[in-house]
Amino acid sequence: MNPLLQVSNLRLSYPGRGFRWAAPEVLRGISLDIAPGETLGLVGESGSGKTTLGRAVLGLAAPTSGSIVFDGNDITTASQSERRKLARDIQVVFQDPYTSLNPALPIADILSEPLIGQGKKPSEARRSVTALLDQVGLPADSAARYPREFSGGQRQRVAIARALALQPRLIVCDEPVSALDLTTQARVLDLLIDLQRRTGVAYLFITHDLSVVRHISHRIAVMYRGELVETGPTAQVTEAPESDYTRRLVLASPTADPDRQRERREARRMLSLRSKA
């Protein structure tokens, strides 16, 4: 089967200031692919370029070279009207549920907007709002409310419902649970997995949290300073990491068990001593 999304040797640098300023390269030749219905977890620290990669796939950042192929079509330099058509297939859930929903619009408008944008009649679009709310576990009377009336977790559900509105085949999830409380986080992750099983949508799941990515991903790609250092099945990458950086990352993320955390700390010390020697 062909991959749903194929990114090959993608490079991206943001324009520098002034003509002699060297443009810093944020992505330095990234290649990865996602199969239909699969979750690829993209892990990395701040500044590793993981969010930029997501934005490039969404068409919000322009790559300098390389290619992004979606379902056999090259979308690296898709025009605005092509992008508008692509909206049916590629959607997004952002990290911050507080700024990703327009505070001025009621939930019904937020959810029907993508449908109207694709040329559906407003009345028709409104009708599908209830079904969308139901899909993400929100009561039907949420439609008339405004984002500020909801908690962070509920807002994120609204954002997920908006992403689902067009029944996309790929959703770019940019740290969708990082701003949420622990109990909420677990529920939203379960919702995402459940939706994937029901609709067969693929996720590009961007996060810095290894425990989150372990929970939701089929495969994991680890990014470090604009490069991909390791890709592989979740269990393999988190339990027997190949690259030095991934090993450091795994050992640095604390586990919620005092005794095991002590062992992990010792292991991390040993690793850093060895790397210094």
């Binding site: 992008r83 590629i90 997004v92 990703s100 944008g117 919620a256 068990d257 700390r265």
Partner: protein
């Protein structure tokens, strides 16, 4: 926690129904707003009803009525030196002023906001060209040009006002452009782009909403400017005197000021009323847009004045003494701590509901809870860093034998410097960007030692917290170092006075995991070295497991459970703690169900 019951949601909806009622409703509920709306509508109605209300033609001179005093039959406000009815002339002048205001602000808003939207949203070269043109426009002396161009414009006040509108449009242009540039980067605009909306739809639905309020406000001010300029030019004799207007009326009355001083009153009165009402309306619209927060702020100020002795113990003194007897020998002991904030309606909302906690010397205590649990409020009340409107009460709040209650500000400040220290969540925003790291560290130290000593101590501290090149960091500005380095600097500052108690509020939340691990190591080492007690506020159970000896779990302002780390993790007794522990994403459970496509492709490969 994520899905409150339907009841809760309805409560919220009721509370916000008033907010939804629209800005206009909110304007007319304030006395000032209502007054200005009534005055404006009244004046405009007078102008519109001119044909009905006027007694004479405004330009008809009656020799018999020259300088007739107010109250003369047929001449309600009297007549001017040419025997023209002042009342009729006022009505006509109102129309001229309203038209001037509409033309002047309309042209400015039209040009400024449309081009501002385009310039801000499209950016790049379009923005460059438009910004240049509007900068150029701003350099023109508007008034002089309007006077000089009079032969071309023909001198009618309408064309003069249109020209004026063009000259003041840069005000709107810059406002809109800068607002749009801010909104353009909002995530919801990105989400709209990904949703496949057209630019026009994004602009009208998402961008215009944000800039609409400020446009209306500045349009109100531009309208007053247009009215004033029109009257001023006419007073100076520019423009045709065909229609009666406030400018020519004041000019006429001015010449006549010794014989009939009252004549000057009428045009000035209406002109003043109109402009005052417009400005006040703009102001109250701004207040209405700012929403209830602005009103609440005013309300709070009143409250806090009445509750200035906020830290007074609320319980019986004997109770307090008994409690303080129990707390001896502990580094920090707090009994029955309560923190509350005023609501809009004057009631108080309690965010910390009578909690008690102890910290022994040399112990790291984790304070965990979800957002809104009151954990940060608890920490801040110990530090004395809560905002003024917070009301703090406790039976006991003892730190190393001294009570933190009822102390004068000076003593508290000294204790804060030497006994308690604080590490914040956002290291970057806690460093002043305009001073070097070194000067900020030395500032804290120099109260107890000489400048030179302070510098040496600061350098030693920087080296101690693991900064590889202390000299260079000492001379750097905050933007030149990373978040992890900034947190190390703040830790250096916090441990410099060798505090007995360190309060850390989510000290690693903003950092990467690898940096977090290093910072936790550093905190552990320093704690062992100085033997201080640490209160670590966090939501991350991994951090708790890594560094804490004891944990206290908070929910909704109450202490749910507390105890030894291992006990809490292995055998949580309270259902809420059990739920929290169960929500921790387990390390063993890796997602195992294969993706459908992966299954298929695996088969293919075989």
């Amino acid at each position: 926690m994520s899905t409150p019951t339907i009841d809760q949601v309805t409560d919220v909806a009721d509370a916000t129904a008033a907010k939804r009622a629209g800005a206009f409703r909110r304007i007319i509920t304030t006395p000032l707003g209502l007054f200005s709306v009534i005055v404006l509508i009244g004046i405009v109605m007078l102008g519109l009803l001119e044909p009905v209300l006027r007694g004479h033609d405004p330009n008809t001179a009656d020799l018999a009525a020259i300088n007739a005093p107010p109250g003369t039959p047929g001449y309600f406000l009297g007549a001017d030196q040419n025997g023209r009815d002042i009342w009729s002339r006022v009505l006509t002048a109102i129309n001229v002023s309203v038209t001037s205001a509409l033309i002047g602000s309309g042209v400015a808003v039209g040009i400024g906001s449309i081009l501002g939207l385009i310039s801000g949203y499209v950016g790049k070269r379009v923005d460059g060209v438009l910004a240049w043109i509007f900068s150029l426009l701003m350099t023109f002396p508007a008034l002089i040009l309007i006077m000089v161009l009079q032969p071309i414009t023909g001198g009618t006040y309408q064309t003069m006002m249109a020209l004026f509108g063009i000259f003041i449009s840069p005000g709107i242009f810059w406002l809109v452009r800068n607002l749009v540039r801010g909104v353009k980067n909002e995530l919801y605009v990105d989400a709209a782009k990904v949703s496949g909306l057209s630019n026009r739809r994004i602009l009208s639905r998402h961008v215009l909403y944000v800039v609409r309020g400020p446009i209306i406000i500045s349009a109100a001010f531009m309208a007053t400017a247009a009215i004033g300029i029109q009257a001023g030019l006419a007073f100076l004799g520019f423009g045709s005197a065909q229609d009666a207007n406030f400018g020519t009326m004041t000019a006429d009355a001015f010449l006549n000021i010794y014989r009939a001083p009252l004549q000057l009153l009428w045009p000035s009165l209406f002109l003043g009323l109109m402009n005052a009402a417009l400005v006040l309306l703009g102001n109250s619209y701004r207040d209405a847009l700012a929403g209830p927060q602005a009103a609440a702020r005013r309300h709070r100020k009143k409250r806090s004045a009445s509750t200035s002795d906020a830290t007074a113990p609320s319980e019986e003194p004997t109770e307090a003494r008994k409690a303080s007897a129990q707390t001896q020998g502990k580094l920090l002991s707090v009994r029955n701590l309560r923190v509350s904030y005023p609501n809009l309606d004057g009631t108080r909302k309690e965010v910390v509901k009578g909690i008690s906690l102890d910290i022994h010397a040399g112990e790291i205590v984790g304070l965990v809870g979800e957002s809104g649990s009151g954990k940060s409020q608890t920490a801040f009340s110990i530090l004395g860093l809560l905002p003024k409107q917070a009301e703090v009460s406790a039976d006991v709040m003892n730190l190393a034998g001294d009570s933190l209650l009822n102390h004068d500000a000076k003593l508290l400040r000294r204790m804060r410097g030497s006994v308690i220290s604080y590490i914040p969540q956002e290291p970057m925003s806690n460093l002043d960007p305009s001073f070097t790291i070194g000067s900020q560290l030395v500032e804290g130290l120099s109260s107890s030692m000489s400048k030179k000593e302070a510098k040496e101590t600061a350098l030693a501290l920087l080296a101690r917290v693991g900064i590889t090149d202390p000299e260079r960091t000492f001379k750097s500005y905050p933007h030149q170092i990373s978040g992890g380095m900034a947190q190390r600097v703040l830790i250096a500052g916090a441990v410099a006075p060798r505090p007995k108690l360190l309060i850390a509020d989510e000290p690693t939340t903003a950092l990467d995991v690898t940096v977090q691990a290093e910072i936790l190591d550093l905190l552990r080492d320093l704690q062992g070295e100085l033997g201080m007690g640490v209160l670590l506020v966090t939501h991350n159970f991994g951090v708790v497991a890594d560094i804490c000896d004891r944990v206290l779990v908070m929910r909704d302002g109450e202490m749910v459970e507390g105890g030894d780390v291992r006990t809490i993790f292995r055998n949580p007794s309270h259902p809420y703690t059990q739920e929290l522990i169960a929500s921790i994403l387990d390390e063993e459970t890796v997602r195992t169900d294969p993706a459908p496509a992966v299954l298929a492709s695996a088969k293919e490969q075989k």
